[in-house]
């Protein structure tokens, strides 16, 4: 699975075509996605394809809709009143706005990492297995199964050797960087398809940022990762493809190197040169 992922070499069309059957289950597709907060339109005809296993960066000035778009992918936007959505989002080939979609099942497959690390006020161990506990009947959760999942998830995010003797410690007492890694580890036992990251490093220092970025490379290939960032350098370092948005519209979507070196749209060029932000 990981071997099929290569850095993108071709430019992607700005507007994704109708979903081809062969690629139906791959990554994230949106088709004419529109979203309104009350009468304010935050997303305008967003049609994109985020490829499976890659890291896609969402960039653009504040208020351009990148976080809104990210929050559409697990429908967490809907918690706010007066949010109206039109259009389609396909994940694993299924339109997540279909009426038979269960939010609980969707969020199991599409995990989210927030700006501020938000570990639950429980032990490290219980944080990691929280998702399993909510999705599995109690009698199926043997101690051994849980132990294995905790070890696997913490190993995957590089916390196992640090925390294996402190699994009972309160998650909220960890360093911020470890908290953020734990928040990522918490998603993994649920075998997510997509991991959404909303400025995951903005609360972290340089070391923490580096650690999280390295972790993203580790996870790359196994999960479709979408990251919102204000930090151009981070977008450049971490992402395979970038999506530049402005006023709710997709301006440019291309491989990261291409987008930064040969932006096709003058607005993209101005933004990445730092003329507005």
């Amino acid at each position: 699975m990981a071997s099929s992922v290569d850095p993108p070499t071709v430019d992607l069309p700005v507007a994704a075509p109708a979903v081809p059957e062969t690629d139906a289950g791959e990554g994230i597709w949106t088709d004419k996605l529109n979203l309104w907060y009350g009468s304010f339109q935050a997303l305008r005809n967003v049609s994109i394809h985020f490829r499976r296993g890659l890291i896609t960066g969402l960039i653009g000035p504040s208020g351009c809709g990148k976080t809104t778009l990210l929050r559409c992918f697990n429908r967490i936007n809907e918690r706010y009143p007066n949010v109206r959505t039109a259009g389609e989002i396909r994940i694993l080939g299924k339109n997540i706005y279909d009426p038979d979609v269960s939010l609980v099942e969707l969020r199991k497959a599409v995990g989210m990492v927030f700006q501020r690390p938000n570990p639950l006020p429980l032990s490290v161990y219980e944080n990691v297995v929280f998702g399993l506990r909510t999705h599995t009947p109690r009698r199926e959760l043997t101690r051994r199964l849980l132990d294995e999942e905790v070890e696997r998830a913490l190993t995957e995010v590089g916390l196992w050797h640090l925390l294996k003797d402190r699994l009972g410690a309160r998650a909220t007492s960890l360093q911020l960087e470890q908290q953020q890694k734990l928040c990522i580890a918490r998603l993994l036992p649920l075998k997510p398809e997509v991991i959404l990251m909303d400025e995951p490093c903005s609360a972290l220092d340089v070391e923490g940022t580096r650690a999280i970025e390295e972790l993203m490379f580790q996870l790359r290939g196994r999960y479709t990762i979408v990251i919102v960032t204000h930090n151009m350098a981070q977008a450049r370092r971490t992402s395979d493809e970038c999506l530049f948005m402005l006023l709710g519209e997709v301006v440019e979507h291309a491989g990261t190197t291409d987008l930064f070196l040969n932006p096709r749209n003058p607005k993209t060029a101005e933004y990445i040169e730092g003329r507005y932000g």
């Binding site: 969020r107 639950l120 006020p121 929280f130 909510t134 998603l187």
Partner: protein, 305 residues
């Protein structure tokens, strides 16, 4: 224009007359505010000390467990004490679960629409209704319409209605104090609202919820009007020290009512008895409040964030 005068270095940052005036003003305001804060405490101390001094001759273990004697002019307050416990326990047994569950719904599930706003308005209005009106409502609803008659049941339910809105409000406050990030974290691994509430929200708000409920004990114990209309009586013959003297359908004595009775309705009462009754009522209320604080501190120390 001439250049502005240059202040000599030694005179820089010193107190100008304006600064001096501001400092005086500052001191005066501070003094006034302090005086108000002290003024607030003084009456409390005065009341408590006066009560205890007046009640001292009558205060004893006997006074608590004995029944009133000689036409209530002597003896103790046992029937009233037990009656108050009955009323408080039963009313809270009704209002606490309803109030807490309703608050959970309002805070965790309800969307902001006309229905929720109507409920909120009802809660606020209900909290503002004078107790005598609750009393009248209890009389109509429980004593007559529901045919409970003048009874502990009717009186307790009336008290329950009275305490309900405050319990809802305090519980909502406790729930709202749980950081939203915890809920988001739960929803993001696909936990349902109920799973989120059970696993995270309730464990982290239980101290605030319990405190709010317990504080209503003192309100229920102190109110006179609602029980006067619905189930409290002047006198009830009870065995000395009997723990279960009443049935739900009985009328009962209660401390607040008893205080009123011995103070105004019965001639030639031994002088210390009304005071001692008041001390017991106040002591019980303060003890419960202290327990609430202790519980809150204990639970908060166990809180995990």
């Amino acid at each position: 224009m001439s250049p502005p005068p240059v202040t000599p270095v030694s005179a820089r940052f010193t107190r100008t007359p304006l600064v001096v005036r501001k400092e005086r003003q500052q001191a005066a305001v501070r003094l006034v505010l302090l005086a108000m804060a002290v003024l607030m405490v003084l009456p409390l101390l005065a009341i408590i000390s006066h009560l205890i001094i007046q009640a001292w001759p009558a205060l004893s273990w006997e006074f608590l467990v004995d029944v009133p004697r000689r036409g209530m002019t002597e003896g103790g307050i046992w029937p009233a004490l037990v009656g108050t416990v009955y009323l408080v326990v039963i009313s809270l047994a009704v209002s606490a679960p309803i109030g807490v569950l309703a608050a959970i719904y309002l805070n965790e599930y309800a969307r902001d629409n006309w229905f929720t706003r109507a409920i909120n308005l009802a809660v606020i209005s209900l909290a503002g209704v004078p107790s005598i009106v609750h009393a009248l409502f209890g009389l109509g609803a429980f004593v007559y319409a529901a045919r409970f008659g003048y009874s502990i049941l009717a009186a307790s339910l009336t008290l329950a209605i009275m305490t309900l809105p405050v319990i809802i409000a305090s519980t909502r406050e406790a729930l709202a104090a749980v950081p939203a990030a915890f809920r988001e974290a739960c929803w993001n691994v696909g936990a349902t609202r109920w799973q989120t509430i059970r696993a995270i929200v309730l464990p982290n708000s239980i101290s605030g919820i319990l405190t709010g409920v317990i504080l209503q004990v003192s309100r229920a114990a102190g109110e006179t009007a609602p029980i006067l209309f619905t189930g409290a009586v002047f006198f009830k013959a009870v065995q000395r020290g009997d723990l279960f003297p009443y049935r739900l359908t009985d009328q009962c004595m209660a401390l607040s009512m008893h205080l009123y009775t011995v103070s105004t309705q019965v001639p030639n009462v031994r002088e210390a008895i009304p005071w001692a009754t008041a001390v017991v009522l106040l002591g019980a209320v303060l003890a419960v409040n202290a327990a609430a604080i202790a519980l809150r501190v204990w639970l908060r120390n166990r809180k995990r964030w």
